[in-house]
Amino acid sequence: MPGIPQKSIATPAASGGWLGHTWRLVRWNVRLARRRLMSKILLSILLAGFALLIGALLLLYLFISSAVTSSQLSSPAPTPISTVQQGEGTPVPITPPPGATGPSQAEIQQEKQQFASLLTFPEDFVLVGGYTTFLGTILICILAGALAGNEYSFGTQRLALSYGVSRAQVLAGQVGALAVLALSVAGGMLILGVLVGLTFGPLLGGVIPTIPPAGLLQLIGFWLVVSLYLFAYALIALLLATLGRSTVAGIAGSLGYLLFESIGLPIIIAVAALLSGFSSTDFTGLQAFFLGPNLSGLLSGVSQSPLDLAAGGTSSSGGTIVNPISGLQGLLVLLLYCTAFIGLSYLVLRKRDVTT
């Protein structure tokens, strides 16, 4: 080692207060997430999945279109499909009753329009939002678990703390980074949705409505809710990774909870209904205590906005999304959960010795 030079560069003094320092930690955590190979793989999976979904919808649309075209070519009038011998007389053609061989042209046309609207802005927001809250949630849980857990496995939390970063700042940096990542993922996916909707919508015969300024605010609200959805599950991963001091605890725990809400909870309700003799709808109130149903309620509330906008600013006649949990209730429960997750993580971190 050459040693300390006689004339060295003046060290920049520490700058900024608590908030400034914490914001730099947020940016640092985002940078860490960005530099990971895992993040790149997860993002690739998300984008590839989305491309596959759009591709599949386009194929379905083409399939339905071809069905419509073939039916139009073959039938200005119903086609006889058989003849019956009536004694000595000539054969008489028998016309099949309407709908006996498949959907009518009107039904096919309607189905075709539905597919077209799925890929037309702004209705495609519902599709993109649904996709993001499904696959995006899984992927952000993995990312959040790794972000928090690796601080223990690499020993870098020790590094941060020994340079004067407080435990509250460590947590705030991680929570802030997860919020930024959730907003970015949701925002990125919705921008993709806009591009897809503006590209394929008109091609498929969809009509893109003029979005008023209030409509833009509604779309921003939709983006925020999708982001909140991702953020809430990411916080579960953060809490569990902090509790378990490991990446595995964060990822497995959060995905396990997600699985429980998706599959376990309905099964439990069904079994409870079966055993008690009540209807499963009597247990719907139980769901209101869990995160997922509340998030779905909140999402359902905001998912109405793109549909309304597509219907010209009025309440759309078809496709109204109904959820037993209201958007407001969903938001309140979500905020409660987020506060609990962050608070518990802080308590664990505050009391804990960092020895790894």
Binding site: M1, G3, I4, P5, S8, P12, L32, T156, R158, D353
Partner: protein, 411 residues
């Protein structure tokens, strides 16, 4: 009366003593025997105050631990630890594995919370969040092994350290990063991912991180771990340069030769307890003296009694005696213990004559120059050395099994 000056100085009982040394068991010939197991660092209580203690070397205290203790469940890792590191010190924290060194460093850096007592850094208690943050921003540290993000390169990792330390991420910080990378010789590998580094390179990056913020106080836990001999010499030189610049260094190491070369003051921990603290030179001086070896184990205690009597009457220059274990590989009497006499070295012949007059003849008389290693081993090895002969039945009764047996003859 036996002359007490030397041990008085060691025990900080000297009115104008400047450098503190704490020994586990004091032995003063002709004086009161100090109570065993009680911390004898004088002015321990006064250290808690803002004013420097009377025995302070006239420099501000950078780090002070006050009755610091840490228990992991029922297991005490550190007990009643009172350390003082002064500005400009190169302070060595020594101890065998499991003695509580790293636990102490972790508490100093706020990574773990003390069970009792407190850490005071730059005059601020670490229990206060804001003050801890401010104090830690003046420190550079490597604790255990360096910890960095494996997928980031050296520059990016140092950028992370700069972020943690609250430095602005601007051109000046980048220039400083380049500078410390140059200091530790990592510029050629600055763009390689950390996971590709050898242990020595990781250690160098850890040192670079510790230097990055140009701290006033650097904590290095085993800084030469994984370095080749040339690297060790470089680290030693670097620590010397830091000390020349007035930077305080707290160094934990097993390499006692190195510590002896670079440290000005040391503290020795054993089983979580402070067993010695003071200036290296003075600690070693206390271990030097005239070493007497006897072929008959009974002669050992008889010789000690004779010398005690002589100290009270005809030989006031005799200051103390204590039983010591021989250095590994050295000659030893059947019982495995030697008698170390604290007396001017030119008096060796007179000591021999005193004993000879009473029919006790030493099989070996020689000058003893203590090393930190020997001192450390004496203080920290709880069990008798393997080469010790069991044929010394009196020894267990005379010498309690704890280490650092210093005894006073019958008073």
């Amino acid at each position: 009366m036996w002359h007490l000056a030397k041990y008085q100085r060691l025990l900080h009982l000297h009115s104008d003593g400047k450098h503190g040394i704490m020994l586990p068991v004091a032995v003063r010939l002709g004086g009161k025997r100090a109570k065993k197991g009680v911390c004898r660092h004088m002015d321990v209580q006064s250290m808690a105050g803002a004013a420097p203690p009377a025995n302070a070397p006239g420099r501000p205290v950078v780090l002070r631990t006050e009755r610091l203790a840490k228990h992991f469940g029922r297991l005490p890792a550190v007990t009643n630890l009172n350390l003082e590191v002064y500005q400009g010190d190169v302070f060595g924290l020594l101890g065998p594995n499991g003695s509580g060194k790293t636990t102490t460093l972790r508490m100093v850096l706020g990574l773990i919370w003390p069970t009792e007592g407190q850490v005071v850094l730059f005059g601020s208690p670490m229990s206060d969040d804001r003050q801890r943050r401010a104090a830690l921003q003046r420190i550079g540290a490597i604790v255990e092994q360096p910890a960095f993000y494996p997928y980031l390169n050296a520059r990016e990792n140092l950028l992370g350290v700069a972020t943690f330390a609250g430095m602005p991420l601007n051109a000046a910080t980048q220039a400083r990063i380049d500078e410390v990378l140059m200091q530790v010789g990592l510029v050629p590998r600055g763009k390689d991912a950390y996971k590709k580094y050898s242990l020595g390179m990781k250690q160098r990056l850890g040192i670079a991180a510790a230097l990055l913020t140009r701290p006033e106080f650097i904590v290095l836990d085993e800084p030469t771990n994984g370095l080749d001999p040339a690297g060790m010499v470089e680290v030693r030189a670097l620590i010397g340069q830091l000390a020349q610049r007035g930077i305080t260094v707290l160094l934990s190491s097993h390499l006692l030769h190195e510590v002896q070369q670079v440290c000005t003051r040391v503290a020795i921990l054993n089983r979580g307890t402070l067993v010695a603290q003071g200036e290296v030179a003075q600690l070693l001086a206390a271990q030097s003296g005239i070493q007497l070896g006897f072929s008959q184990p009974e002669q050992l205690s008889t010789a000690a009694s004779i010398l005690q009597e002589a100290a009270a009457t005809s030989a006031p220059w005799l200051r103390a005696t204590r039983y010591i274990r021989p250095e590994p590989g050295a000659w030893m009497p059947p019982g495995g213990w030697l008698l170390l006499v604290d007396a001017p070295q030119e008096r060796a012949a007179e000591i021999n004559a005193l004993l000879g007059a009473r029919g006790i003849y030493a099989a070996e008389v020689r000058r003893r120059e203590a090393s930190l290693e020997q001192f450390f081993l004496e203080l920290t090895s709880g069990q008798p050395a393997p080469q010790m002969s069991p044929a010394f039945p009196q020894m267990p009764a005379m010498f309690p099994p704890a280490h650092a047996r210093q005894i006073a003859p019958q008073e």
